[in-house]
Chain length 138, copies 2
DNA sequence: GTATTTGCAAATACTTTGCAAAACC
DNA sequence: GGTTTTGCAAAGTATTTGCAAATAC
């Protein structure tokens, strides 16, 4: 369930480097296919399979994060630090939530549940500032 | 993004009733395929497509909840009330979190982000009590 | 030199959909 | 009776995988 194959030596190939660079440049939490399109501008012959394999590998060694918002596709975040997210139900956009982490929640949940908690995540849904002004304009 | 086709009249078919009954009986947050297996014991000729269609329909009118834990398949919860979840990284089991709701978080996030927040969810990951004793036994 | 990584294409896993027949109100 | 729903099978979408050639260290 956590990182696997951590014993395998990771080589820094050009593909892997550019996938990581491109992902870290943006704050839009792109899907694998979005990353593929970004990387193809630098490496036209890269394959979608390579992008998937590298995003998976990089997230399993905690260099990036794999996110899930109930959409059919996963999203990726170049920032490996835990933080919360917020997504717009109108346009689908995903932003970082400016809320600070609530580490106390884990202790509270651990006591109440008997689980040994290792992580938690909070996601908010709502309407983003841009979509709010659009609705007002209609 | 929210319930759709709310104008359509919903008929209470035998299939729909049994799907809902079976889902409400359990607290295991089953996948569509799990529900299919449960329902087939009562209705051997039911189809997987019907199960998917009804789970989708019932969740879009907030009779049940559709959940997502980053696994390749969605899970369903017969309890439509908002509550948090906790999942075991060893055995994959999903439980309700006994933590009370934190409605203050939404206001905090709304002020900080400029989003008009409509909902939030917290999920915890860790090792469940059963798996903890198993690890100790090894 | 040798193990990892790549590109390609085929396979997989889960879910959705088209359609004619059946069921509901 | 007219619309919704079903079972079936086929299609769709996102992702993963097998393999021989290429690459990194």
């Amino acid at each position: 369930m956590e990182g696997k194959d951590n014993n395998k030596i990771l080589r820094m190939t050009n593909q892997r480097k550019i996938i990581l660079e491109e992902l870290c440049k943006v704050f839009s939490h792109p899907t694998a296919n979005d990353v593929y399109k970004m990387v193809r501008k630098k490496l036209p012959r890269v394959s979608l399979g390579t992008v998937y394999r590298n995003l998976e590998l990089l997230s399993s060694c905690n260099t990036i994060q794999k996110l899930d918002f109930g959409e059919p596709h996963k999203r990726f975040d170049g920032n490996p630090e835990p933080h919360y997210h917020i997504n717009c139900t109108k346009c689908g956009r995903v932003d970082d939530s400016p809320l600070p982490l609530k580490p106390g929640l884990e202790e509270e949940a651990e006591l109440a549940s008997g689980y040994q908690i290792s992580s938690h995540h909070i996601s908010f849904s709502g309407i983003c500032p841009d979509c709010q002004t659009q609705v007002a304009a209609n």
